[in-house]
Symmetry: D2
Subunit: 319 residues, 4 copies
């Protein structure tokens, strides 16, 4: 192993830059050359590859987004595209590849590894929807960003004694909703893993009003959606004003939290170690507080399990 | 003047609590009794009135929203409703009233003053759409909140090399868009006072791309609207990905900035001074850096003028 | 178990309010009466005890500090004081006590448990210096607060091309320094667990300058101290300007992060469960990502181990 | 006028980058060449001068510090040094110079203008200690940074029922203390323009305690200093715990507020306009809400006046 490369792919997540920095500096620290590939697999196919040194990753640990850019590539989904990627990597003399991204990006890396490319994946997505790891890079920041938005909405919702419905990201995973909902003291948390009953929701709101609640905050995960419809229904049934807010892409941005930077640093460091150990087709992550690595095929086959206990704690504390 | 009251009305704005605190503490400092009226004119009609002391407004200067709550009242738009309000104020022996809110709230206060109630208005709205004053309470905080959101969107929009269209509040006033757009380094600012040309917008984006711009941020004021349609059109014409974000109610919340707290303190203090000077039907504000007061009829008749110079500076600096 | 009480003791930490909220609401949810004790063991001795309901803990999850206040008590360190505490608890019919605080507070709880009081401890301190748990409530917030300060210092230190030395809290534990240093991209991290060599430090700075580093950030843990002396020495040896900043008590405050609120909610919930299970003299915590509980005597006997691996990652990534 | 240059000098301030951006882009927009001078007058003497284009100032509007760096120069205080600066400007064919900094920097610019260099100054300093302008670039950000620190200190000070003494920057000017103190609801504000009486301070604290105040926040301006001594004295006289915090250099950093970015944009734009109008030895600023310019000799001769009215409002609202 003499030369490695790193790319980011799929949706960006805060902390990706910290992971890039860790890969580059660890690689250099261990005597490797490190190349950066721009715009994910699309840039790989186009040969957008350049050498990185320590200064290339100076002053980026605190920045959201990814300095390597990211893009989606239709061409890379085809066998022809993947073979082109392999050819480019060989042309540049790259022995090992680090892929930072979500499960879509891992599938891309998996494809390359089938053609003999040594590859390690680092989970970077705000959605926390990758089952083999307790936590993905960007999740902690996204939860805190949602928390900040909730705080602001609570001010205005309390003043108007309205119900606030906030739709947050997470695709089919309810974790952003659950964590931000619990931490934000939301009255109800609606996630795809549990579903909801609009009648029960309205009953809870009316009971809360009787007990003197000045506001009612409902977090809805993207995987359930329909924040506007829920607001209308609540207003109709309870007679209490309700407003929906769909938080959108601000959840992807922002300076990463300490946690995301540290996780990214650990995982980036471990990814390079694995390549140096001659491993391939592995993904790194964190399990029970420990940095782990897992075979990529097995990792992608694991089903996510929802934290039922945490959900029930959130429920018990909410009213 | 022995007993005054204070209420907040209309949409809430960060800094309203600082204004309430200033009214209450200045009143007490000058030997008055101070009553709080809950839920604006609606609460006035219902007699939701309570005595306030120094501790009632302790630890609120940094809080968004309004501890007095706010509400809209259909009844108060009628003559009967207004007379009821007058009767309640008389029943409680209230000699002077401070109304904190936007122009709708000022019209309510104006109505009461026709019936002989001594009244002073304080401009509290994030929209900055009140012509006689350079600045309303809440505007500075809202602009900074939008700025924070823009920063986050820029991260993700840069990473994906997309166009971001952000729709911000302000009703028919483009000030939030203009100030946040200039401060956020937006490539284009679309305000109702100026309109826009979709072709020119697309041309600017394509030219920017040629010059190496990695992102394109467009701020659209609520008074123009249509962020989603603009995004679709841009994507269609330029072939560059575009995403719309409608910021929504988070713009109303949040801890007020230093500026908003100081402005609120100054205006609250001045409002009580005016009541003690025997004035009525006045509104306070800031003009050319000085605290001023103005007859409410004249104030409401002034037409807003848009800051053309600032808009042209924003344009010159944007590309 | 019919009536429980909760107190906070020692230095305050962000997230203590979230823990109080969790204890109160879990207790009520499970049919218990819940009492709040003000000012820690000092307030216990003085009988500053009041009944809490769901509203007592409304709107506090996002607040720093502790609504129950905290204090140090010399009297409670004596046998007489402890017996008085027991008598008061009995007088109020309190069957179980939750103590939120650091190891000093745990010793207080331990003393009460010797007299038969059923007691569970929750680790609340920014210092992260309690060995049996991976994480204490307040640590994550403190690290992020330091990170925010570091960001600000970096701006000015870069502009002046100076060395910044930042002294952070943590008593004899270097964790705040290590985590904030790694996450903040500090060039050097000085912790009591490792010590430092001033000559090596100066050499690193001079080498960094040669490689084009525009700033140099050194984090010093409280347990080492001497930030001002280090600054003088660096200036003298390297000829590069150096400024020391001692962050102080701002590290104890601020709205808790999502992580601290969730950890506090989990631990508060678990503490009440333990009391209901008839357990006593236990402390709750988190180990390998799981909520655990431990005998208080054993827990207090465990020696902290420093995360050598994380420290070496920080070193590898820093230059 | 064909070629202008810009430099930053003295202590850095948030918003300096926004001013640099405005100077560069306005210059280019009006057909000028624009050069950047690094490290202030020191860099001028050393010929650290490079051409800037639109991309040189991309993505900097939100960054604290100054991309042009800043430094102090002993040599430039001498006539020989100044003549060298003039020679360098002539050698580079620079017709006009924009100096961003505080009054020390203005004296440097003034010296150059005596030798015939066309020069305009922009006030950039957090201290707000320049008399001819109502506001300097960086002041609003610094006040909000102090406010954020105050919020955090209040949490912990309230929990411990202690007195917090916070020493803030501002050299001989009490504005940061006054604005942050009023906005932060400080119980006492100590500024060099007014002085203080330690006995009165202690009396106020004791009276506040009697009225149920849970915390006491005292802001001390740098120009008075002695926060630690004040804390000791208070503890001795009142018997209430007191803690001093000296905020230090974090006050210079951080992303500039909207206000500072807009002020910087306006002033940068105006500075270039003045050069194009053939003016020299002018300084720009804001007076009564309007952008103004003033002869540099006259401007530097104006004495600051303290805002007595605002100080008395702060006093009236504080207890």
């Amino acid at each position: 192993m003499k030369k490695i490369a790193v790319l980011t792919s799929g949706g960006d997540a805060p902390g990706m830059n910290a992971a890039i920095r860790a890969v580059v500096r660890t690689g250099l620290d261990k005597g490797l050359s490190v190349m950066g590939i721009q715009r994910g697999f699309s840039g790989l196919i186009n040969g957008e590859i350049f050498e990185m040194d320590r200064r290339s990753v100076a002053d980026i640990i605190h920045r959201g987004g990814t300095i390597l850019r990211t893009a989606r590539s239709e061409e890379f989904r085809t066998e022809a595209g993947q073979k082109k990627g392999v050819a480019i990597l060989n042309a540049f003399g790259i022995d090992g590849l680090v892929v930072i991204g979500g499960d879509g990006s891992f599938h891309g890396g998996q494809a390359l590894s089938k053609y003999g490319i040594k590859m390690v994946g680092i989970p970077g997505t705000i959605d926390n929807d990758i089952a083999y790891t307790d936590c993905t890079i960007g999740f902690d920041t996204a939860v805190n960003t949602v928390l900040d938005a909730i705080n602001k909405l609570r001010d205005t919702s309390t003043s108007h004694e309205r119900v606030s419905i906030v739709e947050v990201m997470g695709r089919n995973c309810g974790d952003i909703a659950l964590y931000a909902g619990l931490a934000g003291g939301a009255e109800s948390i609606i996630v795809p893993e549990k579903g909801y009953d609009i009648n029960l929701l309205c009953k809870t709101i009316l009971e809360g009003k009787l007990r003197g609640k000045m506001h009612n905050l409902i977090i809805v995960a993207e995987g359930v959606g329909g924040a506007n419809e829920i607001a209308s229904k609540i207003e109709e049934v309870t007679g209490i004003g309700a407003r929906a807010t769909i938080l959108g892409h601000i959840q992807r941005g922002g300076s990463p939290t300490a946690n995301d930077r540290i996780l990214a640093s650990r995982l980036g460091y471990r990814a390079v170690e694995l390549l140096l150990e001659g491993k391939s087709a592995r993904v790194v992550g964190v399990k029970d507080g420990k940095i782990i690595d897992e075979d990529i095929d097995e990792a992608l086959a694991i089903k996510r399990s929802f934290d039922e206990k945490l959900y029930s704690i959130a429920e018990a504390l909410s009213y």
